[in-house]
Amino acid sequence: MAVTHTDPATKPSKAQPKATPKKSAAGSALGADLGLSSDDLLEMYRLVALSRAVDERMWVLNRAGRIPFVISGQGHEGAQVGITWALEKGKDWIAPFYRSIATCLTFGMSPRDIMTAQYATASDPSSGGRQMPGHYGSHEHNLVSVSSPVATQLLHAVGLALAAKIRKTGQVALTVMGEGSSNQGDVHEGLNFAAIHKLPFIFVVENNGYAISVPLARQVAGSSVAHRAAGYDIPGVTVDGTDVLACYAAARDAVGRARAGDGPSLIEAKVTRLTAHSSDDQQTKYRSEEELAAEKANDPVPKFRAQLADAGILTDEAEERIKASIVADVDDATDYAESQPDPQPSTAMKWVFAEDWPSEAPPPWGLGE
C-alpha cells in the first residue's frame, strides 16, 4: 500500500513527481493490485479533472460578478476522488465539508447540483438557495447536509455509523474535514465514542497545511493528526493526498476494517491548497511566492494525468474525449444555473418543521405575496 509520510503541504519538493512506469515492479498494470480497471482509472481521472474545471469556473463567475462567494477544493481533488471511490455509492454515508466538491461529484451529485449551489437557486438540491455555496448535501446521494461551524459533522457520521451497526445495514459512514477543523472538541468526543463501540466509521483529514492563514505548526501539536489515532487505539495513517491511488488504497483498507466490524480508522491525506481560503481571502499576505509556486508542483490533476498517460491508460484520444465532455458539462451546468429562478419569500417559512409553521408572530411584511 502506497502510504507515505511525505509532507507535500509543508515541505514542498522542488522535483516534479516521477512518472509511474507502465508496469509495477510485480509486472501488473497500473491499479491492478488495487482491483482497479483501466475504465475505473479513466473515470477517476474524469472526476478529478471535472471537479477542477467546475471549481475554476466558479472563480471566473465570481470575478465576473455573477456569484458573490467561492470556497474552493482546488488541490484536494485527488484525495477526494481516491477516498470516495472506496465507498459504495448509494449505500454508504459521507458527511462532507466545504471543500468537498470532488467528493460530492464522485458520490453522485452532478455539476448542475454544484453550480446551482453557487447561484443559490430554488432548485439547488443542497439547500434550495438557503445556505452559502460550499454547504453541499443530498439525501438522494447519502451526502449529509453540512453547516458552517466546523467539525460538527463528525458526530453526525458517528451517529450514522451507530445506526448502521444497530440496524445491521452493513453501511460505512465517513466524514472529512481540514486539519484546522480537527482541533475541535467534537472530534475528540466522536472518535472516543466511535472507538469504544467499534463503529464502522472513517475519519478523513484533508491536511492542506493551513487553517485560513494559520500554518500547521501553529494549529496541530506535533504536526500530525494521524498520530492522535493512537490515543483511541485505532489505526491512523498519513497518505500523500496528491496520489489518487494511494488515497484509494488507504480508504479501501479502512472500509474493509469497518465492514468487518473492526471499528474506525483515521486517514490524514496531505494535500495542497492551490487557492486562497475563499474568494474573500488574499493568501499572498501570509504565504510566500516561492511557497505558492512550489505548491503547484504538487497539483494532483497534472500528476494523475501524467501517471495515467505514462501507464498507457490515458491516451491522447481518451484525454480529448474526457476534456470535451468536461467542457460540455461545465458549460451546461453554468447555463442551467444561470437560468434557474431564485427561491421566493412565499417559501421562506417552509421546512422549519415537518408541518406548516406560521410562527407565533409572523413578519408584518408578509411573505412577498
Binding site: L160, I166, A354
Partner: protein
C-alpha cells in the same frame, strides 16, 4: 387509572415507546445498568440490552451530535442529559445542527430525536444542578420545547415527542420526580404538542406557568380564592410552539395577566409571552402584564436561606396576584 409519580410516568412512556417502535433508543450518562441518576431509565437496559440503552462517555456534545446522525440513519434517539445545567456543551449541536437541519437542507434531512433533561431548583442543587435553560432553546426556530407538569402529561407528551419528526427538548423538573403524583391511565394515549391547558378556571387574573410553577400557581390560586380573587391558571405544557390562542383567550377574558417562571427574570421565556399579550391583547388589558420570576443572579445559591430567597413559591405568586387584582 393508577396513581403514579412523575418519574414513573416518564419511565413508562419511554418503555412503552421502545416496545412499540424498535428504532427508539436511549443514550446518555449512566442510563444503562444504573438506570440514570434519577432512575428515569431504570430497567430499560435489562429489558432492551446494550444496543438500545447506551451508556455514553461524559461528552454532551457527542450525545446530541451522534443522536442527530443516528436519527438521520433511521433511529429515534431519546438522549438524556444528566442535568439541564450540563447541556451547554451541546448547545452548538442543538442550535446549529438539530434545529437547522431541516430548514438548511430544504427538507432534505431532519433529526427526529428527543433530548430529555432534568431542570430546576429547590433541591439543594446550587448553581450547577438547579438551572432552568428553556429560554436558550425556545428562542430557536426548529426546536420544540416541552415542559410537562403532571405525570399524565409527562407520559402523553413524551410519547408525542418521540413520535414527532423534529427535535424536541423535554425538560423535567427534578423536584417533581417523586413529589408529584397523579393519575395515569392504562393503555396508550398521547397529549399533543403545542396545546396549553386551563388547569383552574377563573375570571379576574390569568396566571400563566409551566413545570413546577404550574403547581405553585394552582396553590397560589387557592390561597387568593379565600380573599375572593378568582384566578385562571394556564399550564403551557409546550413552550414552543406556543399555544397562543389559549393564552390570549384567557387574557381577553380576565383582562389581567401574571406570568410565572423559575428562570432568571430578564430575557426569560415569560418575557416573550408578555410581549405577545401586549401586542395582541392590549385592548383587553385592565392592568400591566407582570411577571414573577427568579432573581437575576448567575445561579441558585446552595445555602438553604439563600435558595429559599431565590425560589419562586406559592406565596410569592399569591403576592403578585394580589397586587395585580388590586390594580
Amino acid at each position: 387509572m393508577a396513581l403514579k409519580t412523575f418519574i414513573e410516568a416518564v419511565r413508562e412512556g419511554l418503555r412503552e415507546e421502545m416496545v412499540r417502535d424498535e428504532s427508539v433508543i436511549v443514550l446518555g450518562e449512566d442510563v444503562g445498568k444504573k438506570g440514570g441518576v434519577f432512575l428515569a431509565t431504570d430497567g430499560l437496559w435489562t429489558e432492551f440490552g446494550d444496543d438500545r440503552v447506551i451508556d455514553t462517555p461524559l461528552s454532551e456534545s457527542q450525545i446530541v451530535g451522534t443522536s442527530i446522525g443516528a436519527a438521520i440513519g433511521g433511529l429515534r434517539p431519546v438522549a438524556e442529559i444528566q442535568f439541564a445545567d450540563f447541556i451547554h456543551p451541546a448547545f452548538n449541536q442543538l442550535v446549529s445542527e438539530a434545529a437547522r437541519l431541516r430548514y438548511r437542507s430544504n427538507n432534505g434531512y431532519s433529526a427526529p430525536m428527543v433530548v430529555r433533561a432534568p431542570y430546576g431548583g429547590g433541591v439543594h442543587g446550587a448553581l450547577y444542578h438547579s438551572q432552568s435553560v428553556e429560554a436558550f432553546y425556545t428562542h430557536v426556530p426548529g426546536l420544540k420545547v416541552v415542559v410537562p407538569s403532571t405525570p399524565y402529561d409527562a407520559k402523553g407528551l413524551l410519547r408525542s415527542s418521540i413520535r414527532d419528526d423534529d427535535p424536541v427538548l423535554f425538560f423535567e423538573h427534578k423536584k417533581m420526580y417523586r413529589s408529584v403524583r397523579g393519575d395515569v391511565p392504562e393503555g396508550e394515549y398521547t397529549v399533543p404538542l403545542g396545546k396549553a391547558q386551563v388547569t383552574h378556571p377563573g375570571t379576574q387574573v390569568t396566571v400563566i406557568a409551566y413545570g413546577l410553577m404550574a403547581h405553585y400557581a394552582l396553590e397560589a390560586a387557592d390561597r387568593v380564592a379565600e380573599e375572593n380573587i378568582s384566578v385562571e391558571v394556564v399550564d403551557l405544557r409546550t413552550l414552543r410552539p406556543l399555544d397562543k390562542e389559549t393564552v390570549l383567550d384567557s387574557v381577553r377574558k380576565t383582562g389581567k395577566c401574571l406570568i410565572v417562571y423559575e428562570d432568571n427574570r430578564f430575557g426569560g421565556y415569560g418575557a416573550e409571552v408578555a410581549a405577545i399579550i401586549a401586542e395582541e391583547a392590549f385592548d383587553y388589558l385592565d392592568g400591566p402584564v407582570t411577571r414573577i420570576a427568579g432573581p437575576d443572579v448567575p445561579g441558585v445559591p446552595y445555602n438553604h436561606v439563600l435558595e429559599e430567597w431565590f425560589m419562586v413559591n406559592p406565596e410569592k405568586i399569591a403576592d403578585g396576584i394580589r397586587k395585580l387584582a388590586a390594580y
